[in-house]
């Protein structure tokens, strides 16, 4: 039992009759609000960036792809660094706040960069760095502010709020473009203001996790030592292995579009379908994970993805597409926050940020590799064989993970 968990939780929260939010600490809700507002800000920019670069600045799509892909990998490394520094300095809130602040300032950087592609590249890299730095400490704060037996619910609440922000971002961007008669700098400036609000809320309402300073325990060596601990190592490895056989979102949407001939105008609605289901199920599945065990729910999510992929290869009737999209949402709701809830208790509180960042990084790198492999399989074998092969691999690894039981329930 961790002291932190009992400190911030409601002493009477032992009963299950209380409504969900009552059992989630105020700090988790505050972090959820900060994530919600930040996601509005970042999704605004994500929504208009391709347009701005290609139409406003005349970049060709290939250059854009390079610019975009280049920084995706960089976050992985920064994430571990952010987690480690936060643990080492015992300043989870400060490091997370720095990450949020850096990303906020970068929105102003986009305004200042004007039409210089090099400057935009630097600004985007800094923005991703900010995102990488804050993720580990933030998830550690969530996990340290929750009772160990309600971790799944806490992460569920946080991720659901986060997703609401992702929904709102493109809408706000559209409103700003309409109001400003198509001015991209207005979108960036508004995005900055929104991000600044999030930083303000973080500074005012999020409590840092205090704890005794024991620098020896959080040295770089101790951080590497985490991987020697067999429970943690197994979770990290299995999460990465599962990531390696997970078909990426964009591929799922593309298969849907190809097989069901969805018009390009409606194509961007597909991710909203996934996000909608994720939003609805994040809390219930988080609670389920608290009750029946996090690892079974995490694996169940992968089973849902398997089913979705099988449906994608089935007849091109509309209900199949709808159910497949729904299952894809279930996959996210059962895996994203639940993995953090599963891994959290395996890491001592002083190393929580580092540990969670390591798990996330392993998974993220594996998924990047999987995208490359799947793209290759698609090119070599065509779409359906590639999807079927990926499904078979995913099922095999999921069964192996179930048999190996890396986390004791």
């Amino acid at each position: 039992m961790y002291i932190a968990a009992s400190r911030t939780s409601d002493p009477a929260a032992g009963t299950d009759r209380k409504p969900a939010l009552n059992r989630v600490s105020a700090n988790v809700v505050a972090l959820g609000v900060v994530s919600l507002v930040t996601d509005v800000s970042s999704e605004m920019v994500t929504a208009v960036l391709p347009l701005y670069l290609v139409l406003g600045l005349g970049l060709n799509p290939l250059q854009f792809g390079l610019l975009d892909g280049l920084y995706a990998g960089a976050t992985a490394v920064v994430r571990v660094l952010g987690g480690h520094l936060a643990d080492r300095w015992r300043r989870l809130k400060a490091v997370a706040g720095f990450g949020y602040g850096l990303s906020a300032v970068c929105k102003l950087g986009l305004v200042a960069a004007g039409s210089s592609v090099a400057a935009i590249g630097v600004v985007l890299a800094a923005d991703r760095t900010g995102k990488g730095l804050r993720t580990g400490p933030r998830d550690a704060l969530i996990s340290l502010s929750s009772e160990p037996d309600a971790l799944g619910r806490s992460f569920g609440v946080h991720r659901a709020m986060d997703t609401v922000g992702a929904f709102l971002g493109p809408l706000v961007a559209m409103a700003v473009l309409a109001l400003s008669l198509g001015s991209y700098p207005s979108v960036f400036f508004t995005s900055f203001c929104v991000a600044a609000i999030a930083v303000l809320l973080l500074a005012l309402f999020v409590k840092d996790h205090p704890g005794g300073v024991d620098r020896a325990a959080v040295s770089a060596r101790a951080a590497f030592g985490l991987l020697k601990q067999s429970d943690f190592r197994r979770v990290t490895l299995w999460a990465a292995l599962l990531g390696l056989v997970t078909v990426g979102d964009s591929f799922v949407y593309l298969v849907l579009q190809r097989r069901w001939e969805i018009a390009a105008t409606y194509f961007p609605l597909l991710p909203l379908g996934t996000a909608g289901v994720y939003l609805l199920l994040a809390v219930p599945l988080g609670r389920l994970a608290d009750r029946v065990g996090r690892w079974p729910v995490f694996l169940g999510g992968h089973v849902a993805l398997c089913l979705a992929l099988v449906l994608l290869c089935g007849p091109a009737a509309l209900p199949f597409a709808v159910v497949a999209l729904g299952l894809h949402g279930v996959f996210y709701a059962a895996t994203d926050g639940v993995l953090m809830a599963a891994a959290g208790p395996l890491v001592p509180p002083d190393l929580r940020a580092t540990g969670l960042a390591v798990v996330q990084t392993g998974q993220a790198v594996a998924r990047m590799l999987s995208s490359v492999l799947f793209g290759l399989a698609w090119t070599l074998w065509d779409l359906r064989p590639a999807v079927l092969a990926a499904t078979a691999c995913l099922a095999a690894v999921a069964v192996a993970a179930a048999l190996a039981k890396p986390v004791r329930p």
Binding site: P50, L51, P61, D68, L179, S186, T190, I197, S250, P268
Partner: protein
């Protein structure tokens, strides 16, 4: 309580700042200088003014002091009595483009609204077909990837071909099949039937010669993008890939398939335009340039703050 007041005050201030900036930008973008009434009278260079997005015109003989119309376009093209303007609609996500078909006094004859952002525009030399290429997001397997969609509109009959993706194409006598075909940069011959276009598939690009009436095409050559047919219909100016994101301008003689690189040494990402049978125009670094079509000479700047050149004849 104090924290709540701080949070509310800060939020109110930041929201006010965002609204002020956005509304201010509205005046900036809406700011209109005098609007000239342009026509498609012969001997003009028309272009997109890159500072304002409006269509401008200068006499080809003396390209100074452009007149700007009130019409805003991202790509613009003309031939005979027909002009086409591609303009992305503000405030649409994903982007939607208005294809405006204009008569010789810039009056809108027809509007077509299609998904995507403007890339290329052309009018067939007989003025009867309008062709375009749009970038469409989210079609490709990279989430942020793009694909292109080329379509055309028959001005006389009102027939719309949203995308020529379904065009049966033959490569070396065999029907070419691939899931990832993209087309871009349509250019028509004076007869309004023969056309050329780039087919991109599996990482390669091909020059396709098409027969519009029979609706089929065949590949002629590799590594030819954004073709532009000369007024005499015998040569194709195009951009040739020299590396990632680097293209050289060249001219291909269709009779003997001989390629001539033009004197422009910089990378050009544009669909070139023939001013006449000897000179090729293109947009580069917010200016319109001219270079001889036979590989001789040096590039000459025709107009500054300009893109998407079009010539009336």
């Amino acid at each position: 309580m104090k924290k709540l007041v701080l949070a509310l005050t800060g939020t109110a201030l930041l929201v006010a700042a965002a609204v002020t900036y956005t509304v201010g930008a509205r005046h900036g973008t809406a700011e209109a200088g005098p609007e000239a009434q342009l026509t498609l009278a012969p001997g003009q260079l028309l272009f997109r003014d890159t500072a304002t997005g409006r269509v401008g015109a200068v006499p080809l003989a003396d390209p100074k002091k452009p007149q700007l119309s009130g019409l805003k376009c991202d790509r613009f093209a003309v031939a005979k009595q027909t002009a086409v303007c591609l303009a992305v609609k503000p405030g649409t996500l994903p982007a939607v483009t208005d294809v405006l078909v204009l008569d010789d006094h810039f009056a809108v004859r027809h509007t077509e609204t299609l998904p995507g952002t403007p890339s290329r525009a052309r009018v067939s030399p007989d003025g009867k077909r309008v062709a375009w290429t749009l970038f469409v997001t989210g079609d490709s397997y990279a989430a942020t990837g793009f694909s292109t969609r080329a379509g055309l509109y028959e001005v006389d009959t009102g027939r719309l071909v949203k995308t020529i993706e379904e065009l049966p194409v033959f490569a070396g006598g065999e029907r070419y099949f691939a899931a990832d075909t993209n087309y871009w940069g349509i250019t028509f011959a004076p007869d309004g039937n023969r056309f050329y276009v780039t087919l991109g598939s599996k990482g390669r690009t091909y020059l396709v010669e098409g027969d519009y009436r029979r609706y089929r095409g065949k590949t002629l050559r590799e590594n030819v993008e954004c073709p532009s047919l000369s007024p005499d219909g015998k040569r194709v100016a195009f951009k040739k890939k020299a590396g990632d994101g680097v293209w050289r301008l060249a001219v291909l003689d269709l009779a003997d398939m001989k390629e001539t690189e033009l004197a422009e040494r910089r990378s050009v990402d544009d669909q070139a335009l023939w001013q006449d049978d000897h000179t090729v125009l293109y947009g580069l670094d917010n200016a319109v340039w001219a270079v001889p079509a036979d590989g001789s000479g040096t590039p000459r700047k025709l107009a500054g703050d300009a893109a998407s050149p079009a010539v009336t004849g």
